[in-house]
């Protein structure tokens, strides 16, 4: 067994050697531009891209014409959300999503909200200019809008109803296990809703959402369904028609393909339209301009093919490894809590809070094993995982969480090593933890007046 051990397969996955082999020719002799229509270099590159497109489409039960290659899932999420809002503006401007979505979805939504707000602020400035008969600066708006009671100003409200920029967004809570509440989803859809964006599987706690039910609700209400399927693809079955998904974000590097390439599935029947966010040569049927990253796309295709062919067996193997990991940890440690649901979860995901031990300290102790933590100390924000918080996990337990991401190249031997190392490290840190000592003495930690800082 080799150290260090990689057990952070939700962050990224290693390149499968078979994928690398498929890519290499396109980094050497077959370097052509897939858009070059008049010579063999271009034809070869185009053939490689189109073969890959078929494999990516096959993984999700789509038609190859419905696949738009991008630079990765962050771009796909941006393109789906901003592209739909831009194109369907006449129909509405409301999005429904979850608080536990990936930042690429949440921050795209936040930008659209901000754009709309900035437009409204401009209108307020103009209206206050009319009402006061002079130029009003941005700084004055806050005080003047109360004085002139703009909330009840009919003229301004009429203007705001015509705003064509940005969007309004509803961020739904999730249940304790991370699942969407379908009744809440139904209730959140209005006649102005154009898009629902809900992920296939969560990147922290592995919760697999009931996408078929979500898609059925969206179809019935005439709302587009975007699904960020990054974490789930190749791990759990997913079919765009079973899910009635209209837009699906995919990336290669979470399925043993290269980084820097992804795709957006865009449904053709019934036809879904998006406005591009990158302008240029009109590649990918005008939805994503830019010279195609041929070698990476070929690798993506190979990775998708392998994922489709090997998923069933691999999922069983990963689930067995995960059970071994969880049982091993439980047999050696007390006071650990599994975050998320064990019923509807990615087979390779395990997220555990080791009470009274801080996540970053724990990662430091197991430095030969690569995992992640929801502890604030691992991020610059000093806020613990927003996903765990949205699932109702207490902040102290969020700080104590470790995410294990098992993947294609992990072995039983590695799992056993990690169990042993975790048990020793948690034990050592608990001996050092005042909270563990107090808990053992029977002191209720919630009864103490802590000094927040």
């Amino acid at each position: 067994m080799k150290l260090p051990i990689y057990m952070d397969n939700h962050a990224t996955t290693p390149l499968d050697p078979r994928v690398l082999d498929a890519m290499l020719p396109y980094l050497k002799d077959d370097f052509g531009n897939a858009a070059s229509r008049n010579h063999v270099f271009g034809w070869k590159a185009e053939a490689g891209v189109e073969a890959a497109r078929k494999h990516v489409a096959a993984l999700i039960g789509a038609d190859p014409k419905e696949i738009v290659f991008t630079s990765g899932a962050t771009e796909s999420d941006n393109l789906a959300i901003k592209g739909v809002i831009d194109f369907y503006r006449a129909k509405g401007d409301h999005i429904v999503t979850l608080k536990t979505e990936h930042k690429a979805v949440l921050d795209s939504c936040k930008r659209l909200e901000r754009m709309r707000q900035e437009r409204i602020d401009e209108l307020k400035m103009l209206r206050l200019g009319e009402l006061t008969g002079r130029d009003v600066t941005a700084e004055e708006v806050a005080t003047l809008e109360i004085k002139h009671d703009l909330e009840k100003d009919e003229q301004l409200q009429r203007w705001i109803s015509k705003v064509q920029t940005g969007a309004r967004v509803t961020y739904l809570d999730v249940k304790k296990d991370g699942l969407v509440d379908l009744e809440q989803l139904k209730a959140a859809i209005t006649d102005k809703t154009v898009l629902v964006s809900i992920m296939l599987a969560n990147n922290e706690i592995g919760t697999v959402q009931p996408v078929a039910e979500i898609g059925a609700i969206c179809r019935e209400r005439g709302v587009l369904f975007h699904c960020d399927a990054v974490q789930g693809l190749g791990k759990v079955p997913f079919d765009v028609n079973a899910a009635k998904a209209d837009l699906v974000s995919i990336t290669a590097h979470k399925m043993y393909g290269p980084k820097g390439v992804g795709a957006l599935y865009v449904r053709r029947k019934p036809r879904v339209r998006i406005a591009p966010i990158i302008d240029g040569g009109g590649h990918e049927r005008g939805m994503r301009s830019g010279t195609l990253n041929v070698a990476a796309i070929v690798g993506f295709g190979k990775a998708a093919e392998l994922a489709r062919l090997e998923m069933a067996d691999e999922a069983k193997r990963l689930e067995k490894l995960r059970t071994r990991l969880l049982n091993g940890l439980k047999s050696k440690l007390d006071m650990l809590v599994v975050n998320g649901s064990m019923e509807t979860r990615l087979p390779g995901n395990l997220n555990v809070s080791f009470a009274y031990v801080e996540g970053e300290a724990l990662m430091m102790a197991i430095k030969d094993v690569a995992v992640s933590s929801g502890s604030a100390c691992t991020s610059a924000s000093l806020e613990p995982s927003y996903v765990l918080r949205a699932c109702g996990v207490d902040e102290d337990m969020a700080h104590s969480s470790i995410r294990f991401g098992l993947g294609r190249f992990n072995t039983e031997e590695e799992v056993d090593y990690v169990i042993d190392l975790m048990a020793r490290s948690v034990g050592r840190l608990r001996e050092m933890s005042p909270l563990y000592e107090m808990a053992k003495e029977g002191i209720d930690l919630k009864s103490i007046a802590w000094t927040a800082h």
Binding site: A361, E395, P434, T451, A452, H453
Partner: protein, 130 residues
């Protein structure tokens, strides 16, 4: 994030981990931080009647930098008078451990822990004097 060598050294071989008898009139206990914020430090000082720190023990729930900060101050305060220990600032701790900006709060917590432990000792002493 890369850790400084001193942080790693204190984290891997922390000095003075443990518990002193908090009922002992010569022991001052400082418990600072909050579990929700991801760090809690408990610093205990055994202080002679002349006001000299004879022993120091800590337990910390927190990241490596928090553990290193507490370990460091237990070493620093030993042998110092209460007044001398009270002047240790977070800046000195952060400098000694080369803490990055996002970890400065760990050093602040360690400074607070010293002050809280001394405060607790003084309260006990005052109560005894009555």
């Amino acid at each position: 994030m890369a850790y400084s060598e001193k942080v790693i050294e204190h984290y891997e071989n922390p000095k003075n981990v443990g518990t002193l008898d908090k009922e002992d009139p010569n022991v001052g206990t400082g418990l600072v931080g909050a579990p929700a914020c991801g760090d809690v430090m408990r610093l205990q000082l055994k202080i002679s009647d002349e006001g000299v720190i004879q022993d120091a023990k800590f337990k910390t729930f927190g990241c490596g930098s928090a553990i290193a900060s507490s370990s460091l101050v237990t070493e620093w305060v030993k042998g110092k008078t209460v007044d001398q220990a009270g002047t240790i600032s977070n800046k000195e701790i952060a400098k000694e451990l080369s803490l990055p900006p996002v970890k400065i709060h760990c050093s602040v917590l360690a400074e607070d822990a010293i002050k809280a432990a001394i405060e607790d000792f003084k309260k006990k002493k005052a109560a005894r004097g009555r």
